[in-house]
Amino acid sequence: MRTNYLWSLTVLGLGAASMAALSAPAPAAGSVSGKVTFTGTPPKMKPIDMAKEPSCASQHETPAMTESVVTGPGNSLQYVVVFVSAGDTPAPAPTQVVRYDQKGCNYLPHVLALQTGQPLEIYNDDQTSHNIHPLAKANPEWNKSQPPGTPPIRATYDKPEFIAVKCNVHPWMHGYFAVIGSEHYAVTGNDGAFSLKGLPPGKYTITAWHERFGTLTQEVTIAGGESAPVNFVFKAVPY
């Protein structure tokens, strides 16, 4: 009897919940968007000498450049990770796989953002062996070799962290995994623009992270379906 009683309660509860969901649509979600720029003098990026790896050097008509500070028109700043660092409700890890490539002895993209628990696949598109060595601190640090033509390396990270990635064979290779604890994040393109969509009403802390210039944060309140403008200005230092 007791079991039946519990069952009926559960069924009633589920029914009520789905009714509520149908009759009262979720409040309109807002968004945060803006641009990341810098003031001051950023360091100049340098050409990479890949002479020791001819199979990679030949893939670049002009030498590949270092990417730790990449700027665009109007002092815009690329490869800045903008994300909700507080105020967000935890979202389950997406099942969609994110892809990271080693091509021409470079990492593509230079900064890869993904959510905690999200599956990651790392590909070697080159004719040389790489070792993938993400220098994690909060997450386990592993280091795996990946000869040409081998299947992708699969990994997930459970804790939010900015993880420097390097290849010890090719010391010029540098990249980042930005493991974010929220489903709302973006990496700026060359125009420095970003947009975080689907934010329900509430108060949020928005953080912008750059590998050389550190982090900036701003508070923002979303009331309804509006798009809140948020801009970040990093202070660039030349070295």
């Binding site: 592993w142 280091n143 010391p171």
Partner: protein, 257 residues
Amino acid sequence: MNTARAQTASVGKLTGNAAQGKKYYQRFCVGCHGVDGDGSGENAPWIEPKPRDFTAAVFKCRSTPTGTLPTDQDLYDAVSRGFVNTNMPSWFPLMEQTRVDLVAYIKTFSPRWEKEKPGTPIVVPPETPVTKASVLHGRELFSKMECWKCHGPAGHGDGPSASTLTDSKDNPIRPYNFSAGMRSKCSTTNAELYRIFMTGVDGTPMPSFVDNLTPADAWDLVHYLRTLQPAQGVEAATWHEWLQSAPAPSMGTGGGR
């Protein structure tokens, strides 16, 4: 500091006691590894490679896959064996119980030991016979896996990337020079040598090859690596027999002697 983090260690029939281990640590280990286990003891500035930082819980010599914690036995073996070519001596003269107590205490320095279990050890299957074919295939793998990029064409630790290598704390680090002896940091036996490149040496540039080598491949590589070392084992004898009639070796395929 870490009294709250009770830890034990289990090696064979012995159980380690962290409180006991602390006393031994403060007598034998603190000078290099530091009071807080972070590898910043008073001798640390004068030492290369740097003493292990136990707070990171990243360990070089393991039986477990890259990125996972080592077993108690792995830590016990490391303490007992010492690390050749470094300032870490063998602590074999200490009683077995003392070494197990030390392992228990080392595990109090990182919260990882409370949240994670050691990885599942990589199985080392029985060794295959040392044959010419095995040594030659090992040499092929040494070239194909690009071991020589760091370890050098003849295994002297002088490959094209050697001079650029740094460990995970950005300290310069050298690839192993096979001609320097028969022992390496984590190995004396063939089975231990097998394990090194399958598990990788965490915290250093040496990656794991377990996803890229079959057990048969791995034994072939072990047999070839032994020919790069000075002692005249069965591998070297097999190799030299072959060398009598062999063409001159080329770059990236190993040199022999």
